[in-house]
Amino acid sequence: MTERVEICLSGSGGQGIILAGIILADAVIREGKSVVQSQSYGPEARGGASRAEVIIGGDELDYPKINSPDILLAMSQEASDKYLKRLRQGGMGILDSTYVGLPSESGVKVFHLPISSMAITRLGREMMANMVALGALVRITGIVGRESIEEAVRARVPLGSLDMNLSALDMGRELAIKFSSQ
């Protein structure tokens, strides 16, 4: 039994938050660890707020929802305002600087990255922001290996847009490397 890690992915409807959550969970399974993934569901899923939860490790029949996340991805100001304060002390927040201002939160480590703007400028497709975010998150946190996340992407996105999704993943990774070296 591995130690329980709680990850909250949040943003607005249409940003592909749920798919990012599913892909992340899929990657975890490829590394032989247990995982629970869930999402906010229903009218919320169209427009408005969107949230996916991924919990790694813990025992089989543990509480399937997040108490206080260890890792937060926020891709909208609303999501950041709502969830950043719930981060566990010492937790990590990855914020999309395209939409989220630099917060004054203390006690957590914040990564303020131009996720959506990179998807727009480099790929011409804001839809790919979720993959950029995933690439950055995986690199920063190291919760799954690069191969696992790529395999999960291959298994879960349509063939026609696979290459673009993989490039977006790489871009996120680069973004994280660049940020860390600053």
């Binding site: 599913i22 969970a25 899929d26 399974i29 032989g32 660890k33 247990s34 995982v35 629970v36 993934q37 869930s38 999402q39 569901y41 229903g42 009218p43 025992d59 089989e60 029949l61 543990d62 509480y63 399937p64 929802k65 108490n67």
Partner: protein, 383 residues
């Protein structure tokens, strides 16, 4: 195709139910779309035509239930899936399946009710509807999983129990379990034990469609299988012919009850966690059992001897275990996403030997571990 090693997969609860149904030999699905169960219908719509099975989207839940009964009468293994409002509509025909002894499985993904309620929010308010929803006295088998893996296992079991006992079996998921994605390792098909209904021996001239063999359950002949007979929801004799004879009625209803009641040992399912030395027992099922498990763990860190008892077969209810528990714990807390439906049942079996506290919550949210933990502490310090 036998694969040597089954891969771990990420799968949603509803998807696991549908996968399991196919593995259990289900070849007929009729249903009507309703949140939060639709993934099951969508999966079956994709899969069943590939294997020569039938998927049909009916005009409502009443006809869905009717269609699976019709299909089962021809020998098919038939299921439907729905949620609260649809489950209410199915009740009359569920009673028909009980009376006419037609195997079938109804999956009810519980959302917050009453009425349209909160379609995307979890609830456990259908526990008593599953037990008493259709009119008249009748046996009920209802199973309640807490995880994706268990959703798979219990779906196979539900199909098997329906075939074994010639009665409708209800699978009660809550929205949390139905929509969770978890790691699951599917069993190899050849490792899944399937039960098929007992059929009459060929050319048995003494066969009567409702004459039980020694286990109280009559062998079942398919429509078109050579044993023409009448099927009816009216009280009927062993030939299936309607009867107004009180003797026939009494014997029939009594047999319908005992054919399940005599085998509860086979049906009961439950599990315990840290119960051996527990002074306070939490009773919870479905997704709430997972919150309770976490709460029990946390209470143990506070040096409170708490334990969890989780019924998996809600009906028939393994009340004997509560009876036993009530003799050795100081208090039982029943946590559930309804107004205390199972708390009453637990209280009945506890028989006053220990207090039963109801932690009932109906607001469309899964009860959090902290809420249960707090109640454990309150009971512990107050007890």
């Amino acid at each position: 195709m036998a694969s040597v090693m089954q891969m771990a997969r990420l799968m949603q609860g509803n998807e696991a139910v549908a996968e399991a149904a196919i593995a259990a030999g289900v070849n007929f699905y009729a249903g009507y779309p309703i949140t939060p169960s639709t993934e099951i219908a969508e999966f079956m719509a994709r899969k069943l035509p590939l294997t020569g099975g039938v998927f049909i989207q009916m005009e409502d839940e009443i006809s869905s239930m009717a269609a699976i009964i019709g299909a089962s009468l021809t020998g098919a293994k038939a299921i439907t899936a729905t949620s609260g409002p649809g489950f209410s509509l199915m009740q009359e025909n569920i009673g028909y399946a009980v009376m006419a002894e037609v195997p079938c499985v109804i999956i009810n993904v519980m959302r917050l009710g009453p009425s349209t309620g909160m379609p995307t929010a979890p609830g456990q308010g259908d526990v008593m509807q599953a037990r008493w929803g259709t009119h008249g006295d009748h046996p009920v088998i209802a199973l309640c999983p807490s995880s994706v893996t268990e959703s798979y296992e219990l779906t196979v079991r539900a199909v098997n129990l329906a075939e074994r006992f010639r009665t409708p079996v209800i699978l009660l998921l809550d929205e949390v379990v139905a929509h969770l994605r978890e790691r699951i390792i599917l069993p190899a098909q050849e490792d899944i034990k399937l039960i098929n209904r007992v059929k009459p021996a060929g050319n048995d001239s003494s066969y009567l469609p409702y004459r039980p063999i020694d286990n109280g359950i009559p062998p079942m002949s398919d429509i078109g299988g050579g044993y023409r007979h009448n099927v009816t929801g009216l009280v009927h004799d062993e030939r299936g012919i309607p009867s107004n004879d009180p003797g026939v009625a009494g014997a029939l209803i009594s047999r319908l009850m005992t054919k399940v009641a005599d085998y509860t040992g086979e049906i009961y399912m439950s599990d315990g966690y840290l119960l051996e030395d527990a002074e306070i027992a939490v009773v919870a099922y479905g997704a709430v059992a997972r919150s309770a498990r976490r709460a029990v763990k946390e209470a143990r860190q506070d040096q409170i001897a708490a334990g969890l008892w989780r019924p998996v077969s809600l009906w028939p209810f393994p009340g004997k275990e509560i009876e036993e528990l009530s003799r050795r714990v100081r208090c039982i807390i029943v946590a559930e996403m309804n107004s205390g439906q199972m708390a009453g049942e637990v209280e009945r079996h506890a028989g006053g030997r220990c207090p039963v506290v109801s932690l009932a919550k109906v607001n469309g949210e899964l009860i959090a571990p902290g809420e249960i933990h707090r109640r454990i502490r309150e009971v512990y310090t107050g007890a």
